[in-house]
Assembly symmetry: C2
Homo-oligomer: 333 residues x 2
């Protein structure tokens, strides 16, 4: 578990897109985002107070989160000067970069000398069990997609936010690097050893109050041949009571797989539900989340109405229209 609140390190980000992680934290956990730290030449801006390390620490920030992708897979010496100083000031560091903080000898020794922790969220830090399939108390909702990167994380975060606003009990359960950095905890599922995947999700979504919902971040797709095994482990380890189907209607092939068409929402519904019922016979498909970012408002409305009538389920773009109707559908279970 990563200590909050955070100071968001934007480094020398060439643009706002490179700072996707920082943006996610600011959007979904603004209470964790105390301030931002920008180096010379930084082109990203989260509209947060710019702070020195000392200022942020004095205001209570405890972890410097690397909120920006690095270029060329190398943690530059410029960055490292800041990171070492942060450790000396008293910060832990948290990163989802491919190249690990723990592989940088100077960061390791500085962290050790100052009693600080390096969180590489790409690497599991827990010895997960093998899944036992036992029924757990509380309720769980899983977002499954027709493809990778169709908005599953966004959908779960938006539903969680709406549920909290309504005073419902809910937890977003992160299963990827960005989600873990946003919430400070979770399972980096794509880095878990095969035998323990489903068990890691059981561990992530334990017994809870009968009226508590886990909103589980989906990964991959049952129809994406590179990552379907990871998705399968979520469907069975997550033991969902409710599935949300996620879709991006303007793609002409699966992400990274030219020649592979996206499945229909009907095919996703049927396969995902059949498999989910193995772990939870009461599971239902309750709604559809469509990423309409590449459609005009009019196109989006028409498309959503068509899907809604065809599938007999609420179909919304939570980014455009809010997650309210998806939460209504959950609340009705």
């Amino acid at each position: 578990m990563i200590e909050t609140p955070y100071l968001l390190f934007l480094g020398d980000a060439p643009d706002g897109l490179a700072a996707k992680v920082a943006q996610g934290i600011k959007d979904w956990r603004p209470e964790y985002a105390l301030g931002q730290f920008r180096m010379d030449g930084c082109k990203a801006d989260m509209k947060l107070p710019d702070m020195t390390l000392e200022e942020a620490y004095a205001k209570g920030a405890r972890t410097l989160v690397i909120g920006v992708a690095n270029r060329g897979g190398v943690i530059s010496e410029k960055w490292k000067q800041v990171l070492r100083e942060a450790l000396e000031v008293g910060f832990d560091l948290a990163s989802g970069l491919h190249n690990l903080l723990r592989d940088e000898a100077d960061l390791v020794s500085t962290a050790k000398a100052n009693g600080r922790t390096l969180h590489d969220v790409r690497v599991p830090s827990v010895k997960y069990p093998i899944a036992n399939g036992e029924k757990r108390t509380g309720k769980r909702c899983l977002a499954v997609g027709t493809d990778c990167s169709v908005g599953k994380m966004y959908t779960a975060l938006a539903m969680d936010k709406e549920m909290r606003a309504r005073g419902m009990k809910s937890s977003f359960r992160a299963t990827g690097q960005t989600g873990i950095l946003i919430t400070g905890e979770g399972v980096p599922l794509d880095a878990v050893i095969a035998d323990f995947m489903a068990g890691s999700i059981e561990w992530l979504t334990p017994d809870n109050d009968a009226d508590h919902w886990d909103l589980i971040e989906g990964q991959g797709s049952l129809f994406h041949v590179s990552y379907s095994g990871v998705t399968m482990a979520l469907v069975h380890g997550g033991q969902p009571d409710a599935l949300i189907l996620c879709h991006e209607p303007t793609r002409d092939h699966m992400r990274g797989l030219p020649g592979y068409k996206l499945p229909t929402l009907e095919a996703l519904r049927d396969v995902a539900l059949e498999l989910a019922k193995v772990a939870n016979p009461a599971c239902k498909v309750v709604g559809i989340s469509v990423n309409t970012q590449h459609m005009s408002e009019e196109e989006a409305k028409t498309y959503l109405a068509e899907v809604e009538s065809r599938m007999g389920l609420p179909a919304v773009d939570p980014f455009r229209h809010g997650a309210g109707r998806l939460v209504d559908a959950l609340a009705a279970i």
Copy 2:
């Protein structure tokens, strides 16, 4: 790749069952099984020549394979005396034990001093790619089960043997520890990092002659909540042209999961085929392999006839009746 032929180390096996790995090698790759090495008190016997390390080496054996499970997860000092001596004589060591050879300092130093290799087949030794889903030449058959441990490995090995006997081109592709020790190579799929599972199976079953069949060892079950993600990766990474359904009809629940009923063969057929068609639209279910070990000959015959007529597919127990009809079904594709 493990050097052959082998000397099979039976240690102080308390019974024949403990020497399952040695039995598998002797049954399926008798040409690799040059002899056996038994310690005082060994109750297992593969009916192979008993040899000293020096004798076996002189006859050409190059790897001492640990063909027996150890007790209590500890490699005993008694065993290690033999293993160290084997390294000094010139053998590599190969093991599928949970506790690794490489974690034993004395074995590591003796191997190093003698230029020998320690093969821990539970641990991947290859950096596998992420699956790209590209169509490969040659043909592939995957055994999928209603449950774990229903005879998928046996089925694939029996089909491979029959195909070789007929002069067909085939390769058994091992995906588990026993299979890897039997054939000397393969992917320890349950130990692969989630993101690379499907890619490891693409790597294992590369482009081949148009009339060559890979017989891929199945793992887990799409309906087994602990391991279904591993199975899913086989279905998509294996890109099978043909599926064989495997079943053990006398179980009252899924292995290790009290309360979970086995799916019907129809449910397995429908879900597995729908998912397999994502990677290979031409995939077909061609036959059914039933493990009838807990049925009388009469019961088995009646059951197989019933399944065959109900499913419209050849249904056989390859152990009792040979894999001939399953191979006929493959050959007819």
